[in-house]
Amino acid sequence: MAEPARSIVVDPGLDETIKKLTPERIESTIKKVLTKEAAARLKVYMQTCVHCGLCAEACHFYLSHDKDPRFSPVGKVKQTLWEIVRKKGKVDGEFIKNCSRIAHTECNVCRRCSMYCPFGIDMAYLLLLVRRICAQLGVVPQYLQDTVNSHAVTLNQMWVKQDEWIDTLQWQEEDAQDEVKNARIPLDVEGAEIMYSVIGPEPKFLAQLLGNISMIMTVAGMDWTMPSFDGWDNSNMAMYSGDFETMARVERKHYEAAFKLKAKKIVMGECGHAFRGAVYDGSKWLSWKQSPVPVIHAIQFYYELIRDGKIKIGKKFEKPITVQDPCNVVRGRGLGEMLRYIMNAVCEDFRDVSPRFEHNYCCAAGGGVINCGPPWKKSRVEGNRVKAEQFKATGAEVVVTPCHNCHSGIEDIVDYYNLGMHVKFFSEILVEVMEIPEDMKAE
């Protein structure tokens, strides 16, 4: 049976860049990545895989494409890395373009498949290796590359300048004072217990989230600060494009901000990949055994605030509500129980999803896929029909996504599959239901 034809997607990041490639450059780049960077790890994975196909059923892209084997994890590796190895790097530009399409836009490096592999092969690593080769050749979807360029130039992902950053924080501090009269966003406080960091889109467009954290921190009585200088952005799309040199610069700067402020720990906002970059991929590339300053994800932070009574809940959120488990902090860090704890603490009618926890499906936006931009949107939302079906079955009206990628990706899924649900960050619910002590309430 003939395979259904793939739709043609126009992306200058792929279409134009491959024109500059020569066979020699492709071959030498592949050789360098495979022998100097991948080496033994790749060899072990290649020799261990028995081609059983158990990974296939684990992938939302495969399930959402009616089990088309081209979308199975093993199929994605077979079409890319295995061919590269088999042909000893003698592949052409068109082949590299197809590699980028598969590795950058049809795999979220979410690692669900690795849990179902009898040998625990890290498929995400293999697809990231393909991305690495593509990035070294300059073949990266244009929107993703633009974000990486911003990281490289400004050390944040949205081209935010320092004066704009500071101005935004001060403005949101004032807005927070409309609700909590003593709300602050303390800047550059040396020796603070907590350095709070966020991702670029918060100051750029979603500034209310900065106002929210100001209210939450103030009500909870936290000793916290934010840096007025570079290192405030904890996000890292370079980790996903395959530009690991830029990834390392960004991660190092983030930690250096905490060193400079002599903070005891870093608490980060609701973002999954930022946690992965800081704690795992970034630290590893920098040859650090672990993160040099403890990093606490928002889920764990809110869990501790609510558990310890630092934030008290008034009237709970009433509408039926469900949740998305962000892969990088639930599968990657095991925060699923804490997420349920805080959901139940703030909501009357929490409706859990199935499958859940580390078995939950990815949002299909993570892993840099949504950052590949509009050209790849259709393919992304079509690749996650199972997520739409999963949410629909809960009957909930609201979905909480404690991750920026999940938030945007699920908004797209809600829209495309007409689910009629609202998508919210946890902090948006929390500020609605938390008790503000009388002496802190704005007049």
């Binding site: 100051p203 950052n371 509009p374 050209p375």
Partner: protein
């Protein structure tokens, strides 16, 4: 490339519904697009103030303005932006202003 038909005109848009070329924009595009972004009726003076501000900023700097800049220069509260554009400043206001989709985790 997807095409979008609005009020008898056809526009080239990307898959997120953002206009492909800034110079193909016209006020009618914004007005006809408004219902798709959850805005009922005629666009108000404040809608236009915001749309024009975003377009002028983009033409000068080649990037969408920070939400702070937008609120400061137009003298709007952040909450009011969401009241005017329920889908938000990036996906609502920038789209009606004819910009490309901003890059990054949005």
């Amino acid at each position: 490339m997807p095409e979008l038909e609005l009020g008898g005109n056809t526009y080239e848009v990307d898959e997120d519904g953002f206009l492909q070329q800034l110079d193909k924009w016209n006020p009618q595009f914004a007005q006809d697009y408004a219902p798709l972004e959850g805005i009922d009726g005629e666009l108000t003076e404040d809608h236009w103030k915001l749309i024009n501000y975003i377009r002028d900023y983009y033409e000068e700097y080649g990037i969408a303005p920070m939400i702070r800049k937008l609120c400061k220069d137009c003298k709007f509260k952040l909450k009011y932006i969401y009241e005017m554009f329920p889908s938000g400043p990036a996906k609502g206001a920038c789209k009606l202003a004819g910009l490309s989709k901003p890059t990054g985790c949005v």
